[in-house]
């Protein structure tokens, strides 16, 4: 039922004209609905982690065959989770600091716009300017200790401290905004530099960039040598069709490498013709067939056709 309802919404959304969706209020809610579906997808990742943990922890406790590899997997999982969460928490804290200064910068804009528009439903100008001044002072005092060793950040902050000593005036707001932007820039650079020196960031970088990414590249690079070996062993001209395929493959391969130009300058053009005409025609046919099959499969899944478990729902 949940599959059907979920699918029904998207069928309705795609087939209904946009003007009708807007008048029904669906257009405005679509973002939230799709975010909900994305969250469900995110929950699936969590379920995957729980499932893997259950299987492998059971294997370890029962000392089943290969339990030592399960230990390695669980240790890797816990280590990366810890490092990734720590990395994320540091970023969250940093972005929180920056966001507070960005809010102050936006506040200067709001004060100027409201004054220019002579809005009456907002606090008086002098109250808002004083609020701005005291917020800047409070934020600056919070950071005064932590930025002692950062001269660039201290220089940027000294410009802001200049404004908090006396009442802020309206004509100072553009300059305050510019100085806050400069401070935010210096703060971002400082936080980025500080992060790089943290042990957790270094460990995360080592394991993620140095190990995980590198191993992924290495694993895929093995395919190159396997393809060469498979091509030598299997690619045999035994019929007219295989001859045509071989010639086409040669033209396409030689047409896109620098050495092809040494053989014949027109090879890239022949390659282009092969890919634009015969290949496109064939690929369109294959894609159409695959998409029709995909459509049929989607309808089966949507309506739970052929699903034995669905009968009991």
């Amino acid at each position: 039922m949940s599959t059907f309802l979920g699918g029904l919404y998207f069928v309705f959304y795609f087939l209904t004209p946009q003007s009708a969706l807007t008048s029904l209020g669906v257009q405005g809610a679509h973002e939230y609905i799709t975010t909900g579906f994305i969250l469900v997808g995110g929950a699936a990742i969590g379920i995957g982690i729980v499932n893997i943990s259950q299987i492998h922890i059971r294997k370890i406790f029962r000392r089943q065959t290969g339990w030592s590899y399960s230990v390695a997997l669980i240790c890797g999982l816990i280590t990366m989770l810890f490092l990734a969460i720590s990395d994320w928490r540091y970023d969250l804290k940093s972005s929180g600091e920056i966001r507070e200064w960005q809010t102050l910068s936006q506040f200067t804009d709001v004060i100027q716009k409201d004054f220019a528009a002579q809005k009456s439903d907002v606090p008086p100008l002098d109250v808002r300017l004083e609020a701005l001044r005291s917020a800047m002072q409070k934020k600056s005092d919070e950071h005064r200790v932590s930025i002692r060793e950062d001269s660039a950040l201290q220089d940027a902050q000294s410009k802001i401290l200049h404004y908090v000593e006396y009442p802020v005036t309206l004509d100072q707001l553009p300059a305050i905004k510019a100085d806050i932007s400069q401070y935010i820039q210096a703060l971002q650079e400082s936080l980025g530099t500080r992060k790089k020196s943290l042990l957790i960031a270094k460990l995360f970088s080592l394991l993620n960039n140095g190990l995980f990414i590198a191993l992924g590249s290495a694993m895929f690079s093995l395919l190159g040598v396997y393809i060469a070996s498979a091509a030598y062993r299997a690619f045999r001209i035994k019929s007219v069709e295989s001859s045509v395929m071989m010639i086409a493959a040669l033209i396409v391969m030689l047409g896109q490498i620098p050495f092809g130009l040494w053989i014949y300058e027109g090879l890239p053009a022949w390659r282009l013709w092969l890919l634009s005409w015969p290949n496109s025609a064939a690929f369109r046919a294959i894609t159409l067939g695959a998409l029709v099959a995909g459509l049929v499969l989607s309808i089966r899944m949507w309506l739970s056709i052929g699903d034995e478990g669905g009968k009991n729902v």
Binding site: V225, Y232, F235
Partner: protein, 301 residues
């Protein structure tokens, strides 16, 4: 039966020799840092002409970069994305970078940083800054659903909320005018994963507006790309590393002080490996032919 009788006397090239030949073919050009002029790629030329037609500075509009590749296809997709981002950065068009592939987040974050550093090294008097010239949204899950919601959103700042580091997008002054899909004048999508491009073709449109789309693919997915090039749904494409190499060559002609990048080196190395594979296939067929001739007629049937 026939294959068995033939294989008893057949010439068998040890797989290790094949692996060694391919490794040597790939490593020698990379180690010697020798590159050859690339073959002309018309689809990459279309991308180049398209970017050149965009207004300098973007005129208040943005470019969207989808770095949907991971470590597996990094060798081809990363140089493509780098030359495209470089060209946009040189024209000062602000970028919004993200990825729909979980393993691609690192590349999405580091790609514009690397290009910006390279440009600043070439032009020390100019700066390219995060928050002014680009922002990175990081990894966005749920693939097609995200693209759908992104395309239909009436307030992208509210929908996207924060960048990859948790900073509010509304706090970046240059990106405060970012509201909807209509604010994008170019989209560059780079991936080696089959089926990813389909989501952008299908969903990246709003109220009749379809932002110009450029695609960077691996050599294996070139055939799939051509159907969209031919129909005009793609403005241009980077056909594997060869496309990136030709684009790099065109950038070099336009900006003579530009430093050499990896695209030309990798293209040359891959070209040598292609020749080795072709040679192996030819040798295999010649050997099979002579074995077939040597085998008595009775054994052939």
């Amino acid at each position: 039966m026939r294959e068995e009788r033939m294989s008893k006397n057949s010439f068998h090239l040890d797989q290790r020799i094949i692996y060694f030949a391919v490794i040597i073919a790939l490593s020698v050009p990379l180690l010697l840092k020798k590159s050859l002029p690339p073959a002309r790629m018309q689809s990459a030329e279309k991308v180049f002409s398209f970017v050149e037609s965009l207004p300098n500075g973007g005129d208040g509009k943005f470019a969207l970069i989808a770095a949907d590749f991971g470590p597996g296809t990094q060798a081809e997709n990363q140089p493509q994305a780098e030359v495209f981002v470089e060209h946009l950065m040189r024209r000062r068009i602000p970028l919004v970078v993200f990825t729909r592939y979980a393993l691609g987040e690192r590349f999405a974050v580091q790609l514009p940083e690397k290009v910006a550093q390279k440009l600043e090294a070439e032009q020390p008097e100019q700066k390219w800054e995060y928050g002014k010239d680009w922002i990175t949204l990081g990894f966005k899950p749920s693939g097609g659903l995200f693209i759908q919601a992104f395309s239909q959103s009436e307030n992208l700042q509210e929908y996207l909320g924060k960048d990859y580091a948790g900073n509010s997008i509304a706090g970046f002054e240059r990106f405060q005018t970012l509201r909807s899909l209509h604010d994008f004048i170019a989209v560059g999508q780079f991936t080696g994963l089959s089926g990813m491009l389909g989501d952008y073709i299908q969903y990246l449109q709003r109220s009749g507006y379809i932002p110009p789309l450029v695609h960077g693919c691996t050599s294996i997915t070139i055939p799939e790309t051509y159907i969209y090039l031919d129909s005009g749904q793609l403005r241009g494409a980077f056909e594997g590393i060869a496309g990136a190499a030709w684009y790099s060559e065109m950038l070099k002609k336009l900006y003579p002080n530009r430093a050499v990048d990896d695209a030309l080196l990798i293209n040359t190395a891959l070209g040598v490996a292609h020749l080795v594979i072709i040679l192996l296939v030819v040798i295999g067929n010649i050997v099979a032919f002579f074995e077939f001739k040597r085998t008595p007629r009775s054994a052939r049937e």
